[in-house]
Symmetry: C2
DNA sequence: ATGAAAGCGCTAACAG
DNA sequence: CTGTTAGCGCTTTCAT
């Protein structure tokens, strides 16, 4: 058994200094563009750096400065277009602020999240964005700033979310205004605070109008595997004339099931989703939905996190961003 | 201007050793589970670690071992379901092998890729997966193992891809077998080797049958913004009875355009995509497409990369994985 | 303007 | 089985 050679050999700052015939500290100053470095030294250093194709070791730097310039982003499911778009927005904002993203896919699985939390801690990320967290106490003794999205974690952790409750109300009111009478709600898993609030808003609005609403519960957000199996419990689906689905991608799977059964949308049944992710515009008919302000959510999360990272005072509270109705074809009154 | 406190204070191995009343090396041995540590010491260490909520600093460890246990993954567009699924597969395999993923979204932009390449180098990632790279010489003086997906980078870099050429041929042959006569191909940007090969395969197969094929070119993979604007140059779309689109998500946008114009699929026009990403099953009618073996691609890439990381001899060559036709509703012969 | 030296948190000989 | 020590690549006083 020979020795396995692992890892990368790259020249270091000492090598650069030696070859440039100057001191190590000067090179460091040059690299960080702070302190004084003579033009002559600059030229010499630059030359050697190019010759050796040298890149400073961000790890070693982070060990010393205790600032990794990295943000850990936990998403439950990168295949869900909504989280997908959110991750892109967050990546962009973070990059603008000089931070890189360490992306973690938790699959809404508590164990995976716990493991990733350890990974992020061990990598000394500057901050963590925990979306739809399934953990609580795991975050209690953490020394790292955290911003939660959707699910609350602990009292001392800021939570950002859309106004899901009112989104749910709007969804009902829209179906109601379209004269739907036999209404079904597909609700999300109980462990998703956001979809719970959508559920409650929808139900409360229905109660206000004295309308009864049936509902069935999905056990997960969206898995590619869901496409392989038919959605069961959907046998009696044709009795409804209005369906609210807890998110757009799940709505897409429902629409597919309906169309397979020959149910026409929006003629026989009207559909409304939630998120306003790009999938809704791709569907036919295009999906009426409740907009979550993705850009604003991403910006808010990153700003709040970086404020905390910088040690600024930030009031710990809920940041709730407005939702609004996006009317498209799945709830058209006329036949299409 | 006060001093901005940045970064995380976390206890270190010396603190643990002191509190446990033992030496620093013993703690290190305990942490890495190598070398001998007495039961008594183990207990004491464990206790202190829990009290202080200590997590070893992976950065400091990586500086010394020169092994970050991290793989950099460049994807052109995480919003494209295909790359989305591929990233998930790669993440899973990598995690099984003890590696974390540093995800970078290049947007098919050379400058972004260059920047990310610097970031990955500076973070001393153990290896890099460069999918659809827009760079060449930037990879030449790199000391890090690289595996390319789709686009070739340099002679000494392994490239993995699907059999895009034959996929293109299959696509034509399928439309031909469905009696399509006025065929259009939507081809991808010229800088995508994979879609170029699909284009050539399709064209060659058409030539073999003596069929003329029109084509138009998309300038990008898929952007959410494409949904806001209508696809232009599509005015005369109704004259075709068979369309091949270079990937599934672009096919989805085309289908949407067609449906908006009242063109019926597959009655008036048959559509075939490429990728077999989950979007195809979500569409209605469901999309006939060419399968790329995502699982196998992901596994192959990770295995080849880790072999190189471990210093094993790996022949530098092209790994081309088989494609196959997935027949669904957009090319049905009967009306639906 | 510059370099020597100490130290960030960790690992790995090596001597006991 | 354990602790001392040197050193990974970097930053930062501090004296020159």
């Amino acid at each position: 058994m020979g020795i396995i050679k692992v890892g990368i050999d790259m020249s270091n700052i000492r090598e650069i200094a030696k070859r440039a015939g100057i001191g190590i500290a000067t090179v460091s100053r040059y690299l960080n563009d702070n302190g004084y470095v003579s033009e002559e030294s600059k030229k010499k250093i630059q030359k050697v750096i190019e010759e050796l194709n040298y890149t400073p070791n961000a790890l070693a730097r982070a060990v010393f400065t205790k600032n990794s310039k990295t943000i850990g982003l936990m998403v439950p499911n990168i295949s869900n277009p909504f989280f997908n778009q959110l991750a892109s927005v967050i990546e962009d904002y973070a990059k603008n602020m000089g931070y890189n993203i360490f992306l973690c896919n938790t699959d809404d699985d508590k164990e995976k999240e716990k493991n990733y939390l350890e990974v992020l801690k061990s990598h000394r990320v500057a901050g963590i964005i925990a979306s739809r967290s399934q953990c609580k106490s795991e975050y209690s003794n953490i020394n790292i700033p955290v911003v939660a999205f959707e699910n609350h974690i602990l009292d001392n952790i800021i939570t950002v979310s859309s106004d899901n409750y009112n989104g749910g109300r709007m969804a009902f009111e829209h179906l109601y205004s379209k004269n739907c009478e036999r209404i079904l709600q597909i609700r999300g898993p109980k462990s998703f605070e956001a979809t719970e609030l959508r559920f409650e808003g929808f139900m409360d609005a229905a109660k206000d109008k004295g309308v009864e609403v049936s509902f069935i519960e999905f056990q997960s957000d969206f898995q590619v595997e869901m496409l392989e199996a038919d959605i069961n419990s959907m046998n009696d689906i044709s009795q409804y004339d209005g369906i609210f689905v807890f998110n757009d991608i799940a709505a897409a799977t429902i629409m597919r099931s309906l169309k397979k059964r020959g149910v026409t949308i929006p003629n026989q049944v009207k559909i409304i989703g939630f998120d306003n992710s790009f999938i809704g515009e791709l569907l036919y008919p295009s999906l009426t939905t409740i907009n979550q302000p993705i850009e604003e959510i991403g910006r808010t999360i990153v700003e709040l996190l970086i404020k905390q990272i910088n040690g600024d005072e930030v009031a710990v509270k809920d940041y709730i961003l407005q939702t609004k109705l996006i009317e498209r074809e799945t709830t058209l009154s006329l036949e299409i």
